[in-house]
Amino acid sequence: MQFWIIQGLNSLSLGGLLFLLSSGFSLIFGLMRLANLTHGAFFMLGTYLAATALRSFDGLNIWITAIGAGFVVAALGGLFERLVLTRLKANPLGQVLVTLGMSFIISDACLMIWGGDSIPVPTPQNLQAPTRLFGFVFPTYRLVLVGLAVLVAIALYFLIERTRLGAMIRAGVDDRQMARAIGIPVSRLFTIVFCLGAGIAGAAGVLGGPILSAYPGLDADMLPLALIVVILGGIGSLLGAFVGSFVIGFIYTFGTALFPELAYIILFLPMIFVIAFRPQGLFGRVGA
């Protein structure tokens, strides 16, 4: 019984982390039709920044660090988008090359600056004591992460559904040409969305830090997960990313626990099934 509850909670917290990671990716892909392969590197950059910031300044708060790192990564993303990506509008292959190239640059820079060691990110002081539930303990921070994912989901929902910016984004997702035709500044919108996506990734890196730690190769470990979530959930759908994250969280956690022989492929089989039988994902509006 305990096993099921703990693994269930693990699934939820992993799902929360995945949503924080992939919401930015989903946003960028939904609007810009750009598979941002730099996303893992943006995430990792956030984790490394958190590791240094939180270990150097004792009183620093992880939430502020997340916002700060988010801005830093957003700025980097914005520069990248303005200087490089705008020139590649009709060149999807070029986008692949450039986003992968940028991820090499960022990850090598991280190796150069922080070295090859794994650097832990401290859990916030007031959340270090584990929560006691039904006779066992569970790390409090993981539970908080679930709450955070829900908060971010709600915030993004409001942004997309209830603001003018969101309306413009939705218009751009549905029909880029028409949006441009009625005067929506699509180029500027792209930059804003890319910054937002990158920023969320950076902040997610900070928030995931206490669980993952910063290490070389974190970007390559996280990127496929973001891709899987977005594909499963459906392109252009935030709800899809949200549901997809938790589905993947459950499949991964219970799958590796119950079928260790399938550990490597437990994530990819469901995705293959979904794409093979429902290419637009669970909630996708636009065909993949």
Binding site: A35, L93, L100, F268, L269, I275, P279
Partner: protein, 311 residues
Amino acid sequence: MKWIAAALIGGALLLPPFLAGDFYINLASQILIAAVFALSLNLLVGFGGMTSLGHASYLGVAAYVSALLTSRYGFDHGTAALISILGTTAMAAFFGVIALRASGLGFLMITLALSQVLWGLAYRMSNVTNGDNGITGLTRPTPFGLSLESPAAFYWFVLIVAAIAFLLMTTFVTSAFGSSLKGVRDQPRRMAALGFNPWLIRWITFVYAGFWGGVAGLLYVYYNKYIHPSSLSTTSSAEALLGVIAGGAGTLGGPAVGAALVLLLKNYASAYIERWNMLLGLVFLFIVLVMPAGIVPGFSQLMAGLRGEKR
């Protein structure tokens, strides 16, 4: 102009065994193998418009099958090669049916997922594949009784196979079928309206690309005399894809140039520069900004421009 370039390149390819030491001959062999692999991927990416991140599946499976058949089950190289290629092609046929249910990012993800499944199996089924230790102690074939142990002998072998591969793939692409493939890449609905079967055209290309990927896999395992699950990894597929794009997808020679570039940067630049990963990334950025279609198209534009100015 094109003929002169072709002759020059052809001549240059004949030189390594005469001019260079073992190290450079081996380097040339590696470049040719990477080129064959990239050319096979280009059939999908450049001419077919289907971006795949799982092409290493074919390289790895062919390599593993050949390795296992020769080292563990005592097959001779000829039979092993035949079985490997047939098996890999059959696998490509099967994967093609699954992967072609999607397009764009979905297609990319399925190819990625399929290759990851194979990678996971290679790691996990260590009774068969020796898992993380890889399979060592492999041998090279002896076509017509000739030994391929020396770098020069092996280079000639690879050169001949690569030349045949290039010729056959070029024929494929410049044939009527190749035209219909490009049509399907650019205007699938119009092609369907004209009576073509886009799915079939894509699937045939997918299988053909898998076939040549398998051939590259055989060359790869013969060269290294070792195979490890990392050859099936996404990194391996990504490197080939990067080479194709950087060199010029959709051109005949571009992928070879791109593959050579990636190989040299990954394996040899590290002797001269510690931050070679960063250099690789910067080179890609540079290529895309300056020559958006890749090195070969960019270069020929440059040449055309120079000639234009001279006149």
